[in-house]
């Protein structure tokens, strides 16, 4: 393996890391802060992707001159659409199940089936084509042998911005303070005058909104179809569990490790074997660190 290859592979690892981070952030918030397991997380990503798709159709038809910026608008819209959906979902379904985390898993699984069929029936049974905007096509030629795809660079940037924004939001704003207060001590927070129900809805919706952002940006890399969400969900869960809930930094660190593993394993063995090896490794690690690699607290259950 020469130096160019090393650089490219390292970049691949970095890229997978940021992709996994984007996927997992939303789930980590919902799972880590609320203990809710949202099996429909993948379908929410698909919802974000579809939102981007419809945005591109709208721009192509009504604002062809501004087509270059549709993607940015699409990402923002994807966030708001999934955020709104998340809010409704929390009020209509999730809030009744807070005391039964395993049941949330089943109910949201059912929801994911419904969403998939809705996409299939009302949008398209086939994948839809989401055009990548021209300024994100192609690659940045660093040296002769090293070129970095612009779409991946964009996702790296997006992940960094999103992660920092989430961190700032949780630790530097009043809403973040409320969320943390409710997570840590619900009755006390309620007694201090925080509307805990609204905080719940907001937290859940925020997690869903982040899924929307992830799904929207992945339209540049992969397909947008009814079963798109299924392709993401297992990886997303593994990242969150591997990192240990309750710590966003843990999630990010775990995304980094899994990203690196995937990049180097896939380089050195067949893609199928790489995937099985990664899953196996995760199970082994979970055996030694049952609450995740970076758990801050001892078990809760």
């Amino acid at each position: 393996m020469n130096l160019d290859m090393m650089a490219m592979q390292a970049f691949t690892g970095l890229s997978i890391f940021t992709i996994l981070t984007l996927m997992a952030l939303g789930l980590a918030i919902v799972f880590g802060l609320m203990g809710v397991i949202n099996m429909a997380h993948g379908e929410l990503m698909a919802m974000g992707a579809y939102t981007t798709y419809f945005t591109s159709l709208f721009f192509a038809k009504f604002l062809p001159g501004l087509f270059g910026i549709y993607f940015l608008v699409g990402i923002v819209l994807a966030f708001f659409v999934t955020f709104a959906f998340g809010w409704i979902l929390e009020r209509g379904l999730i809030r009744f199940l807070y005391k039964r985390p395993l049941d949330t898993m089943l109910a949201t699984w059912g929801l994911s089936l419904i969403l998939q069929q809705l996409y299939r029936q009302f949008i398209n049974a086939k994948e839809v084509e989401v055009t990548t905007v021209s300024w994100l096509k192609g690659a940045w030629q660093v040296t002769e042998g090293v070129s970095l795809p612009l779409s991946r660079l964009f996702i790296i940037g997006l992940a960094v911005v999103t992660a920092i924004a989430v961190y700032m939001f949780l630790y530097r704003t009043r809403w973040g303070l409320r969320i943390r207060a409710v997570t840590q001590n619900r009755p006390m927070a309620g007694a201090a005058g925080i509307n805990t129900e609204r905080v719940d809805a907001f937290t859940f919706a925020l997690g869903c909104g982040l899924a929307g952002i992830a799904g929207s940006s992945f339209t540049m890399l992969a397909s947008t179809g009814p079963t798109t969400g299924q392709a993401y969900i297992v990886d997303t869960f593994i990242v969150v569990v591997f990192g240990g809930v309750e710590s966003l930094l843990g999630t990010i660190a775990s995304a980094f490790m899994i990203g690196q593993m995937q990049s180097w394993f896939e380089y050195s063995m067949s893609g199928s074997m790489a995937r099985a090896s990664i899953l196996l490794l995760v199970i082994v690690v979970l055996y030694f660190r049952p609450n995740g690699l970076f758990a801050t607290k001892v078990r809760r259950a």
């Binding site: 009744f96 199940l97 395993l102 898993m105 089943l106 109910a107 419904i114 069929q117 569990v241 899953l279």
Partner: protein, 373 residues
Amino acid sequence: MTTPATSTPATNIRSNLWGVGSYLLLALLLLVVFPLAMDVFRLGLAAKYMSLAFCAVGIVLVWGYGGILSLGQGVFFGLGSYFMAMFLKLEAAANADSSSGTALSAFFGTAGLPDFMAWNSVEVLPWWWEPFHHVSFTILAILIGPPLVAFILGYVNFRKRVGGVYFSIVTLALSAIMAIVIIGQQGYTGGVNGITDFKTFLGMDLDNERAKFVMYFITAGLLLLCVAAGAFILRSRLGRVLVAIRDREDRVRFSGYDPAMFKAFIFAVAAMFSAIGGAMFTIQVGLASPSLVGIVPSVEMVIYAAVGGRLSLIGAVYGALLVGWAKTFFSENFVEYWFYFIGVLFVVVVMFLPTGLAGLLDKVRTRMRRAEG
């Protein structure tokens, strides 16, 4: 089969009677009503759903009474299914007579080898296939292999106090791995296609009507046996410790028990049930497929138990039959909508019927009794 929360002798007798009564009713339904009321095709379907009911019964044990939600029952179902398929395939390969079979073995010059090995250029039967020439080994493998795997897996995890959601995810990852490995090693496992095209079981042609009846009754009998075994376990001391662990694990531990041992044991029992179900499934449907190992079927098995009632072994059987029947009915008559139906079923059961149909029945029963005064 309810949790003995406030058990006075009177209610105990009553619930015993109720339990035995509903067990007999189930036996009547499976052994008499179904065979009389259905043609061979529908009976075959019923047998298929019954083989999935084995998993649901196991899930009631581990989930309802052990408090462990396993999303990896498909792994054990798959092991049982593949073990049986390996046996059937070797029998079919030994006396291949279908025209596709002969064309193949003539072409590859590999008579006696399963067809998928021939076309993946595996020329010698792998050593771990060899023992599956024998029916006795196959049955032993089905009864011992999966529970052993489950026990070890369960014990190391429970020992480390991996529980709740984490255990669910670990088992989920396990079913994903198993599916990927099976698909990847297609020379030895048949890959995505699975293992298909069996001819006979111990010389009995699997496709004639008599054989179908026989296999139906064997499946029904084994299922009833598993339900009885489950009920027996729950009524024993072990069952009570289990419920105690589910409700207050730390107290049980302070009382000197090793909860990991109990949980691993019940997990192993459930794995055995699933494996038996898998083996029967292979015989009924005529194939072993990785699509029964992965995440989706594993989660579906949980919903069978949830619909029937996670605290009721008998309910689990009804749950599996009901969901299976509904799936068939909806997909035959409302092709576009059956996915919605299954999705809505998940949501509704979890939201409004957390104890499933059995719980609903119990509620009605209690209300009636109260009305009696």
